[in-house]
Point group: none
Chain length 217, copies 2
């Protein structure tokens, strides 16, 4: 039994999806009000589906709240045509984005895919209860090994470590860096990332999120 928290102001649509997913032993609990949903106890759920066009609190804020406080995957769905939403959602830490209208089948695929990914990282997370990154003073340790980083590299990696698992937009990263200039159309960031990757030894720890930024896993 998988428990899904849904925040969606169209009850009809929520009901439709709920019925469809029931056949896969997925229970959907919908709240039309985001505040109600958030106070319902997020920890009970395995996954959250958020509607961006929410009344009162913006869906993006709800997403931020959930990502920051809890450790469950988040899928954002939206009827807005604005493509920027995808970028924003992923930047805020959402794990997937599905534009409305969507086929319930598609949503099911995303849910299973996401949960598989998460359980994997959870497992490895259990064996490595503490992150293998550690920031102490002005040096960063990776698997116990001190890294020799330039100022810009330190600032970038530092931000990624602090928000491990969450995608940081290019803009966020550059803004967080005092040494990197703002004007450049962010191409130097690519180089810095490249340098960090080679110094880590494992290039896959820093993943590029297309059109958004980077994420440390």
């Amino acid at each position: 039994m998988i428990n899904v928290l849904m925040i969606e102001d169209d009850p009809e649509f929520a009901e439709l999806l709920s019925e469809y997913l029931a056949q896969y032993d997925i229970k959907v609990t919908n709240y039309e009000d985001p505040y109600l949903g958030l106070s319902a106890g997020v920890k009970k759920f395995d996954l959250a589906i958020l509607d961006l066009t929410l009344p009162g609190m913006d869906g993006l804020e709800a997403c931020e709240e959930i990502v920051r406080k809890y450790d469950i995957p988040v899928i954002i769905s939206s009827a807005r045509s604005d493509i920027n939403d995808k970028v924003k959602a992923l930047a805020l830490g959402a794990d997937d984005y599905l534009p409305k209208p969507y086929d319930p089948k598609e949503m099911y695929a995303r849910i299973t895919s996401l949960l598989r990914r998460y359980s994997k990282t959870k497992e490895s997370g259990d064996t490595l209860p503490k992150s293998d990154f550690e920031i102490r003073g002005d040096t960063i340790y990776f698997q116990g090994q001190a890294l020799s980083l330039t100022p810009a590299e330190f600032e970038v990696l530092s931000l990624l470590v602090k928000h491990q698992g969450i995608t940081q937009s290019r803009e966020q990263i550059i803004n967080a860096s005092a040494t990197m200039s703002i004007d450049s159309q962010g191409k130097s960031l690519d180089v810095i990332i490249s340098k960090i990757r080679s110094k880590l030894g494992d290039p896959k720890r820093i993943q590029a999120v297309r059109g958004v930024g980077y994420k440390l896993v």
Copy 2:
């Protein structure tokens, strides 16, 4: 009576500071909305205090706006901890930076110091109506000739031109520069000065003030 424009979204904090500064005959007018504050007529004020964590418009943008359009000193304050705002604030043209939380006493000290500096440059500007230096956009002209300066050179010379005839301490100069790092025991400043002198052709225009800093004559 000194008129201070404040843009700060925490009215309680604004009120606190306002009451404290009242004893020194400083009147603080606070706007919670930066757009409102900017449209209130900046010219009426002697100084501006900006909060970086502003809603809507970013504090940095507001700072840019004020510096570009008006001629009053700007103090930036910020509660952000994750980025090195100081560098950016000063780069945008702010005259001072104060991280939150700060003692109102400290803010008063900065205000008086800033206003003293400003009135001085105003006076000397009157006695020296025309200077053979001119700053237009991102280039500096010396006797009609455009100078080819690196960023650090531009920042340093720019400060000296703006306060022509007044000695600027090494610390002031380095603080006014976004590209120069603060840690170094200021030896790179010597090199920058040397470069500027050779580019000016006339080494005597920038005078060293022993134990203090430099002065443009």
